[in-house]
């Protein structure tokens, strides 16, 4: 089951995001999942702040698997559908895939730092990870997802259903 992001943490920045359930779009659905990942990341940060590295490791593990599930749903479902429909295979989706590679590497390094109990290394990696992740999310939320909504209007119910299933399986 996809846990809805707590309303406090939703991105209130974007007035065009449909509030409530009147209309689910790829943008609103995937943005909610970004916020859920942010929440899980924040749990790990709080544990590190308390110097509880066992808890931090577990919390970071949850965050990592949520992120990986998100990437997978994009790389296996959303991006191929978008590419097939628009013919843009070397465009924005390719850039997002490259950033996924960078984010995966950062998460692996952070896991290693947590295992070693090295909070300085972890905080440096977490800082990089946060900014990388947020600017990546910003590009998806403001540019790529709206493009998906625009180009995939016919496929929307089917795509959303598949995304929902994939993000629940994790």
């Amino acid at each position: 089951m996809v846990v809805k992001a707590h309303p406090l943490w939703r991105n209130e920045n974007e007035p065009s995001i449909a509030i409530g359930h009147a209309m689910t779009t790829i943008r609103s659905f995937m943005t909610d999942d970004h916020r859920r990942c942010d929440d899980l990341f924040a749990d790990a940060e709080q544990a590190v702040a308390k110097k509880d590295f066992t808890l931090a490791g577990a919390a970071f593990g949850h965050f990592q698997s949520a992120m990986l599930a998100h990437f997978d749903s994009e790389e296996k479902t959303l991006f191929p559908t978008f590419e097939a429909k628009t013919g843009m295979s070397m465009g924005p989706t390719q850039v997002m895939r490259m950033e996924h590679v960078q984010l995966r590497a950062l998460m692996n390094d952070a896991v290693d730092a947590l295992k070693a109990g090295n909070s300085d290394d972890y905080l440096g990696l977490a800082d990089t990870l946060v900014i990388m992740m947020q600017q990546h999310n910003m590009k998806e939320e403001n540019i790529l997802y709206p493009m998906c909504d625009q180009h995939l209007s016919d496929e929307l119910p089917a795509v959303l259903e598949r995304l929902e299933t994939e993000l629940c399986e994790e």
Partner: protein, 432 residues
């Protein structure tokens, strides 16, 4: 559309970097100027040294970083790609630096021709920047408060520079103008319409991003730029129509809008979810507290104009808002942006085959933290120097120069480390 997200569209690192590395040097110059001129600088806001130092900081430091950051960020947050960003950066950087030096020298030496010349160089530079930015932003829909804020702030930039040019030419040619009221308005458009609106537009993105706070509420972030500009329009119209009560109402409105924004940001920062407060967060706290005090002074003076005639009132307001508010906000952001851009460029050079060092390996937290303490000390000395200029003006100037020199050293060291990692990564890539 395809190219919108491409890394290739992020401008080369050299484009924004030249601005970021030059800005602290202007801070050093301003500090040295105060140390050299001594108590005279604090005698009144109209002293040649005070005007020169103010413009070294607002144009040489603030405008410098703001234009450099816009060149970097326009493609990312607005999808607005500047054509030939490196060429634009080079021209703007030279024009801005030369113009700021001429302007400051013109004020200091009392040479109206130099002053007018500096204003014209700055005016042409900013106009050129505005034209290329307008071309890049043409057709970009206003889908977020950030894009709206950027667009509106650029209008204010035009206003503040226009007013500056008119005043400097009036000084050069002896046109009779109400200089005192126009200077206030010039500062209002510059600090309120341009700097504060652009800062807010950036804050909507970077406060949640750097500190993992909730987002700004849609309504207030959508309206803040509009209210600020509306107040400045009211203030400007009141000046034209010679309605001083209305002008004060405009000032009050602008000050209250600023206070509301600062309080909102504090409220969000209180909900931040990062593990440890860092230099950026502390710099922002300093900036928010100083700005709130400064804007409280401004609102008081708008309601009760005689307050502004109290000894040191305007100087304290200026030091608090610019040295206590804007500079800490900007420095706090530079401390994230420079290491992040270093990391990003290294990461892309390594092509996921050779790993890039994390941000804290480029610029360590301890170095930033110590520089921040030095800056805090300089700020306290500057504020105290308003009241004890004979004793404290020179130490305050020196402390400000040292703190800015330290900022430069931190950023420069980060870039040196970036360069050595870059060479290292290229070597490793070639060996693969």
């Amino acid at each position: 559309m395809q190219a919108l997200l491409a890394f290739e569209n992020a401008p080369p690192f050299a484009a924004p970097l030249r601005f970021f590395l030059t800005a602290p040097l202007f801070g050093v110059l301003a500090g040295l100027l105060i140390a050299f001129e001594g108590a005279d600088v604090f005698a009144s806001r109209w002293m040649p040294g005070a005007l020169a130092a103010t413009h070294l900081i607002t144009v040489g430091f603030m405008l410098q970083v703001m234009l450099g950051a816009l060149i970097q960020i326009l493609p990312v947050v607005a999808g607005a790609n500047l054509r030939q960003p490196l060429l634009i950066a080079r021209l703007v950087h030279v024009g801005l630096s030369a113009g700021a030096l001429m302007l400051a020298a013109g004020f200091l030496l009392g040479l109206p021709q130099l002053l007018g010349g500096g204003a014209v160089v700055l005016g042409m530079t900013v106009l050129a920047f505005l034209i290329v930015t307008a071309i890049a932003l043409r057709g970009v829909p206003t889908t977020s408060p950030t894009i709206r804020g950027i667009k509106l702030s650029l209008f204010s930039l035009f206003a503040v520079v226009g007013l500056g040019i008119v005043m400097s030419l009036a000084l050069a040619y002896g046109w009779p103008l109400p200089f005192s009221a126009l200077t206030d308005l010039h500062a209002g458009w510059g600090l309120g319409g341009w700097a504060a609106v652009l800062l807010a537009a950036m804050a909507f993105v970077v406060v949640p991003m750097f500190q993992l706070t909730p987002g700004y509420p849609a309504r207030s972030s959508w309206w803040f730029p509009i209210i600020m500009l509306a107040m400045l329009v009211v203030w400007s119209a009141a000046l034209l129509l010679d309605l001083s009560v209305l002008a004060r109402l405009g000032q009050l409105g602008a000050a209250l809008a600023g206070i509301a924004f600062a309080l909102q940001t504090m409220r969000l920062q209180a909900k931040r979810r990062r593990a440890r407060p860092d230099a950026t967060y502390r710099y922002w706290q300093l900036g928010l507290i100083s700005s709130i005090f400064a804007l409280f002074l401004l609102s008081t003076a708008a309601l009760w104009p005689t307050a502004a005639e109290l000894e040191g009132w305007t100087l304290v307001f200026g030091v608090l808002l610019v040295a206590g508010g804007f500079l800490p906000f900007i420095t706090g952001m530079l401390y994230k942006i420079v290491p992040f851009l270093s990391w990003m460029h290294l990461q892309n050079t390594g092509q996921a085959k050779v790993p890039a060092p994390a941000m804290n390996k480029i610029l360590a937290e301890s170095g930033m933290h110590r520089q921040m303490l030095a800056y805090g000390l300089a700020l306290i000395l500057l504020l105290a120097a308003v009241f004890f200029p004979a004793w404290l003006a020179r130490p305050a100037g020196l402390a400000f120069a040292v703190a800015n020199g330290w900022l430069w050293w931190n950023l420069f060291s980060a870039i040196r480390r970036y360069r050595s990692h870059l060479a290292d990564i290229s070597r490793k890539l070639a060996a693969l």
